[in-house]
Amino acid sequence: MSDRFDDVFRARYGEVYGLAWRVLGDRGDAEDAAQDAFAKLAGAAVLDRPDGEVAAWLRRVTINDSFNRVRGRRRARERVDRAARLEPLAEVEGAGPLLAVLRSEEQAEVRAALAGLPERQRATLLLRHSGYRYAEIAQTLDIAIGSVGVLLARGERAFRTAYEENTG
């Protein structure tokens, strides 16, 4: 048994799953993305690095993989089909079906606008608006901390423009 791997998994699985969920909006896909990230970690030298570096590595791999999944046409088609069958409604506690559909559609527009941004901008926006600090974002993306503000400013402008164009 690798205690180190197990400890990291237990400490970080929820966080990694949460990031993947924000990009994918689907429990099964988020679980797949999170578990794939840990599977890659199992054979990676970074596992021996300090916790902060391991966490940054996991976030980076998860975000990249999650956005790659978004681009996968087949999975996207499946998600659309599932939405059409109202399958996710059971997960929206206390909301009526119509509200759930509207919420689901709005979040799909948000995710689409986010996925269309340049790689570093979308990752920076995702992390910052998930509550991560500038230092953590810089470490995750392997960029200078001074670059976080640039990416946020450009990304937020581009995201807002894309979302408004998509939603008319």
Partner: protein
């Protein structure tokens, strides 16, 4: 007037308080217009992205199931057991001055005033410790922690049940003490301009946050080892209103931070007592055994606020400010110091990149 600020600086200033930016904006119409647009973009983006958060994170059982699945499909995990362990670079990492300084500054902000903000920050490593402060804070007890051994605070709490109110009260930047008083419900101490140390900004960045509640509802289905009588109990933490006056210094560490907050309170509803909840949480994973031992050793945990201090880099001693009990902190370089004290039912903190003697003088002026 100084030259106009670049977009990155203005955007960063929306999240990271900077008195120099405020000072420039007060006199520059162009930069103020740019900053207004940046804020609009940031607020709009945040409003759209925040709802993407999952309704719930995997509970302990789901995490164990996922771990089992990954281990069964990733042979490399098992292979790790067959090779000699690599050197523990973490133990070899030298303590850097700024690192220690930030930790001292963090101790001030974290414990004296910003406990709410820390709890409200995903990834705040000491959230679990803050929740263990199930009491009405009247005294301090320093508890050393190894940050590398603490699990993520939010994740640690979510394993016991849903947490509500985490995003309840982001600190708000305000322009003067009157506005701070309006947000916090009390008027913070005024720092005499003549008392400001050399090398710090003349005007502070002001942050204020109102009181709010954070609740954890214990759910046995998330933590199967939870005693049945705890299931459904709500632990409610009263995160106090707080005001921080931060003066820019010469380096990464704030030149001077003056902080003030009401007391932290906690109580339970719908079932088990605070004693039972505390005992259960102290036995839960996430805190190193040494920390648990220290917390258990506190004589009267109902009135004593455990102050988590990073192991190794920070020293401290009991002292007084005026006639009030206090704790003085310092880093190993002697360049960064802080003092916390309680007076009139309120927690006060002063700290920064200053000699300990100067911090004590400021504390006496403010609270003596």
């Amino acid at each position: 007037m100084t030259a106009c600020l670049d977009t990155a600086t203005l955007r960063t200033g929306l999240d990271v308080p900077d008195a120099a930016i405020d000072e420039h904006l007060a006199h520059c119409d162009d930069c103020r217009a740019v900053a207004r647009n940046l804020r609009d973009d940031a607020v709009s983006t945040g409003a759209l992205l925040r709802p993407l958060a999952p309704e719930a994170l995997p509970d302990a059982a789901a995490t164990e199931a996922a771990l089992h699945k990954v281990r069964s499909t990733a042979p490399a995990v098992a292979d790790l057991d067959a090779v000699a362990p690599l050197p523990q670079r973490r133990a070899q990492r030298p303590a850097r001055r700024w690192d220690a300084g930030l930790r001292v500054a963090a101790a001030v902000a974290l414990v004296a005033v910003m406990a709410g903000a820390v709890v409200a920050t995903p990834g705040g490593r000491t959230a679990a410790a803050a929740f263990l402060a199930a009491f009405r804070s009247e005294r301090f007890a320093v508890v050393t922690v190894d940050p590398d051994e603490l699990t993520d605070g939010l994740a640690a709490l979510e394993q016991f049940g849903p947490v509500r109110g985490i995003r309840g009260a982001e600190p708000e930047r305000v322009h003067d003490l009157d506005a701070a008083a309006e947000v916090a419900g009390f008027r913070p101490a005024t720092v005499n301009a003549e008392s400001l140390p050399d090398g710090v900004a003349t005007a502070p960045t002001l942050l204020a946050s109102p009181a709010h509640e954070v609740s954890l509802t214990l759910r046995r289905r998330r933590a199967p080892d939870m005693p049945a009588d705890l299931d459904g109990t709500r632990l409610i933490l009263g995160v106090p209103a707080a005001v921080v006056q931060a003066y820019e210094g010469q380096g990464d560490v704030p030149g001077l931070v003056v902080a003030e907050a009401n007391q932290i309170t906690a109580h339970t509803e719908g079932g088990a007592s605070l004693d039972a909840v505390r005992d259960y949480l102290l036995n839960a994973p996430g805190l190193p055994p040494s920390t648990v031992a220290q917390l258990r050793a506190i004589d009267d945990w109902r009135t004593t606020l455990p102050i988590p201090v990073p192991l190794g880099d920070v020293s401290w001693e009991d002292t007084t400010v005026g006639s009030s009990p206090a704790v003085a902190f310092g880093d190993e370089s002697g360049l960064v110091a802080a003092v916390l004290w309680q007076r009139d039912g309120r927690i006060h903190g002063v700290g920064g990149a200053l000699p300990a003697s100067q911090v004590r003088i400021l504390a006496e002026e403010l609270g003596g």
